[in-house]
Structure formats: structure tokens, C-alpha cells
Symmetry: C2
Subunit: 252 residues, 2 copies
Amino acid sequence: MTRWALQLEYDGAGFVGWQRQAVGLSIQAVLEEAAAHLAEAPVTAITAGRTDAGVHAMGQVVHIDLDRDITGGKLAAALNFHMKPHRIAVVRAAAVAADWSARFSAIRREYRYVISNRRSRPALDDGRVWHLPHPLDVSLMSQGARHLLGRHDFTSFRAASCQANSPWRTLDRLDIIRTGDTVEILAEARSFLHHQVRNMVGTLKLIGEAHRPPDSMADILRAAHRSAAGPTAPPQGLFLMAVRYPEDVFGK
Amino acid sequence: MTRWALQLEYDGAGFVGWQRQAVGLSIQAVLEEAAAHLAEAPVTAITAGRTDAGVHAMGQVVHIDLDRDITGGKLAAALNFHMKPHRIAVVRAAAVAADWSARFSAIRREYRYVISNRRSRPALDDGRVWHLPHPLDVSLMSQGARHLLGRHDFTSFRAASCQANSPWRTLDRLDIIRTGDTVEILAEARSFLHHQVRNMVGTLKLIGEAHRPPDSMADILRAAHRSAAGPTAPPQGLFLMAVRYPEDVFGK
């Protein structure tokens, strides 16, 4: 039996998210069914981040166990063949130790949230951005974001459905960058609570539109209640960019 | 009557290209029909670049004449409303002089061609890149590209259907840039022949795969025959990024 780490890219549109649901197609189901073509028994995929419906990934990482003699390149090609025509691709595959876990070995998750901040609706990037027609003040947003850096109780930014044992997380990066009409929010942490990135973005939006002062972010954190923060930003602007491990499993 | 310059963004997939055709939906038809809602008579749109079927635009520029008292913001919003649900958007609209032409006043066209250069097929960028699984040597491609800079007879890179009077063009920029698995080709000129960018890219691909030496580009130019150059690169990797005019008509 070999454990394989897989780097996945996918377009979240049309999927119910990573995890299998009672109704609808999940990324997990497409991948596991493709892997089943290469195995004698059902295959279970364990992921570094259970992305929600509509959320995209450039650098999702998962692991599967396969009892088959195959190279990483051939495994990726075979899975990509069987996952057609779904917009999911295995970009890299690497054999890892039997106790390596895509989920538990991960030491950092990197997310990017993209906002199209212009009057007219997006045409090329429709389904890949949150369209906010009113001008966002990125410097106010950056001031607000600063309060969230470091170790905090993030209960105010946590979905009711969140299954984590603790609401404490350490946020290592929360940068807001404008390039023309595009505003990107880059968030990095060892791990995030369910909906944490989208809830932070939804709150930063209120600050960027000057509906709340940047320093209100400190009060929102302190309230430790979901209703203190802003609404959840929509999923289609969110991309899981990368997952980091102590060693670079995919090499280069 | 007011002449309006419009900056357009569109996803070329599913369109027969800019120009109206006997069969299929064109960008021109969608825009002109949206504009007809705001006019008493049919509206004709003149474009800076007649993009082919499948080619995308971030910064296409066109002009239309309208006999209607309206602001640029309201005009863009009205056209975007009527163009729904097509993936075409007016990003900016500006009133210009009656003798200004999106086509004839243009002094520079900027194109970007995107290649996904990795083993696995593109998932997120499917339909927006040319997928080339074999590693491209960008330094060979850059050496080849250098021969094309400046003023030349570009007959070898010209489609049979090209309607230009002269095959002479001045190429101001042809840069090849790799970022991870993505190779971008940036081309700028006052104007291009029909298929010129895609034919240059198709030839650079042969050089990047070491099927032809970089210096063969000089011979290909000199041959002044289409068969001397490589095949036409597919449309979905090409983006019309910007059109420049003596004055910045859209301001900032």
C-alpha cells in the first residue's frame, strides 16, 4: 500500500464543495470514483481543507492510499483521465510516508479572496470574484485587518456549523492589495475555522465601504459572538491557493 | 448625436468572434442589439480589433453613435443590463469627438497569450489557456522572438483571409515570461495582421520545444510565405488586453 499526496486544482462552480453530501456532486466523490478505477476496493480521500460549495482551489492537497505499483506522473494522468470532463485536475502526485496526512501534517493554509471593485459587472471573471460596485477604501480595510493578526478567539468569525474543538486560531497574514479594479485579500494561518476567511472578508467589506470604523474590528473580536461581525462573503471569490507541510512533498 | 468610446471585456467562448457572421452569435450583434434599446435607429459598432471566435478581451475598445442625452455611467449600466446574460461587459464609456474612431485613432494594440505548460490538463483555466504538456524553453523562445521585433514584412504570419493592404507591420514588443507553470507572451504593435499573434505564438512553440532553432525565425520572416512559419495557436489562449490612443479617452 502506498500513500499518495495529490495537489488538486478545481473550479468550485457546480459542486456541493469538497465533502460528499446527500444531494449533489462533490469534489471528493469525483476524485474517489476516479481512484476506484485504479484500486480493488473503495478509496477514501483525506483533504487539507474541506472547501465549501462554489469555493475554488489552485493548490488543494489530499491523500489517498493505493495498492498499486505506479509512478506519480502516471497516477496523475490516470486520475485526470477518469475525472474528465469535470473541472478538477491532479497537478502533482508524490508518494509519502504511511503516517503522513494531508490534513494533520499541514502547517499552513493560504487563501486568496478576489473582489471585482468596479461599477460594471464582471464578464471574464464572472463566478470567480465577488462583485462590489461601490469603491472600497483599501487603507481602511488594512487598518481593520491589523486587529485580526496573531492569536485570538475567532468565535465572531466562526460558522454555527463549525466542528473545531477550539475557536482560537493564529492568523499569520491578512493583506489587502488593490491592482486596478481588483482587490485581493490574502489570508494565511496554520488552520482556519469554518467560514472564517469569508466572514473576515464580509466584515472587511463593511469597513472598506466606511460603514464601520477600522478599530471596530477589535470590538468585534472581543464580542466573541457571530452577530458582532459582518455577513459571510459569497464563496465564488475564494481560492485555496496552497497548503504547506514541514517538507515540500511535491519537490520541484 | 454623441460618439461614445466603450471599453469592453468579454469571454470569447461560445461567440463566433467580434464580427457578425451568417451563423452564430457575435460580440458585435449582442452589443449593437443592446444599444438599439437606447436608440431610434439601428446602431453600428466600430471596433479597434476584430477578435476571432474564442478570443477573449479585457480591454477591447469600440465606438457607437447615439442620439440620446445620457451620462457615461448610465450608458454603461444600460448596455450591461441589456447584454445579460452574455459574458460581455462595458467597463467604461466616454464621450469623444465626432471624428474619433476606435479603429483608426488607435496607436497601439496590446495582446497577451497564455500557455499552461504542465503535464496535467488545466481545470480552473480551461478555455483560457493553450495547454502544452511538454516543457517549453522560454530562453529559446525569447531568442527567436527577438528576430520579429521592429518593422518587417509579416507575410509568413498572415492568415490567407487577411484584408490588410500591406503585410508590413512594426512589432514593438514580444516578451515571453514564465511564472511557474504559466508562460505568457506579450505582444504590442500599432496594428497586427489577421492571425499574426496566434501564428507568431504557434512558431514560438516549435522553438520552445526545440523543434526549430531560434535563429530560424529570421529565415521564416525572409521566406514571406505562410507555410514557412508554424501552425496557428488556438484562440482560447489569446486576450486583447488594451488599445491605446493619443489621449487617454477613458481618463482615470
